[in-house]
């Protein structure tokens, strides 16, 4: 179910249901106490697991947190397939914003802050959360290239993740409010698509 979570060649002892429950508990704890104060002891207690199991399965706190965040994503970009880039991007931001409630915004901000002060967390988030999401997103874009919607050499192509993610990060600072589905939909229409030569 979640190959990233398991050390290669070692069989998992947890069922997929149990894994999902555990990831949910990690995110709850993260929301409650923040990354710094989160302990593997607390995760073990909350989920009635042994610490040995947690360390065997996820190596450490940074890897467990990064994997929990990835596994709790509602959908992978590559799985969205409406038949057109505009449809895919609208669906992507709709699914993302629908799940991005206030709690998650605060959680991600706290985590970003922790990651810039903690190299292990930074590396785990990049390897286990961000890089796989980007690879999945590149599949979505590649389909648009294959359909002839976007030129393979379009220079804006590599910047689409920066545009989408940057729009979400910038709005609270520039407008003082969090992104919402209307905002992100409009940003796709008036920035992302024209930058890619579509509009």
């Amino acid at each position: 179910m979640s190959p990233e979570a398991n050390t290669a060649g070692r069989r998992t002892r947890l069922t997929p249901e149990r894994e999902r429950e555990l990831y949910g508990a990690v995110l709850d704890l993260l929301t409650e106490v923040g990354y710094e104060a989160l302990t593997m002891d607390a995760v073990a207690a909350r989920t009635r697991s042994s610490k040995a199991t947690l360390y065997r399965q996820w190596k450490g706190k940074p890897e467990l947190v990064a994997t929990a965040l990835r596994q709790c994503k509602p959908v992978s970009p590559a799985d969205i397939d409406t038949g057109s880039l505009v449809g895919d991007l609208h669906e992507l931001v709709r699914l993302h914003d629908a799940n991005e409630v206030k709690r998650d915004q605060e959680l991600m901000r706290g985590l970003a802050h922790a990651a810039f002060r903690n190299e292990d967390l930074f590396r785990a988030l990049r390897e286990l959360l961000i890089e796989p999401e980007l690879a999945s997103f590149r599949e979505l874009l590649q389909r648009a290239v294959d359909r002839g919607e976007v030129d393979a050499g379009n220079p804006a192509r590599d910047f689409v993740p920066h545009m989408l993610f940057g729009a979400a990060l910038a709005r609270p600072i520039i407008e003082g409010i969090d992104p919402d589905p209307e905002y992100s939909h409009r940003y796709v229409d008036v920035v992302v698509l024209p930058a890619l030569g579509l509009s």
Copy 2:
């Protein structure tokens, strides 16, 4: 020199040189200890001022910090006037990135984190730093409209600050590295200008 810093109708007791020195000291302290641990006592001691002067001139810590950040900016966007939008945007990111050393990135990240947990700081940063910068940036864009470079009704116009700021915020997370002048220059060329219908 810095009308925002003074309560309307009340004359400043500090010379512009003394103000600049004080703002520099505030940013040094901010870098050293972070926003939460920064005290008006420490600012008074570091700058050999009285706390009464600091409170009379800046009202409180959030206002002093926000004003110091604004006054230490190397240049206001509206003051950049190369004669073309592409020239202005290239010059803007060049000046910004040249001054954005590692220390400043960390300072701004710490401050953003504090601002999302402290309403007074959030409000002061918006009123005294972000809104004036945005107003100044809108002047730069308005000149492009007046020159006929950008259509007055172009829907991407309102999003240019989101694009530029978002690009800087997103790169460390997406690529694991800070923005630099080449990156920002390229982002202007392949995202901002095409979104505005120029390229």
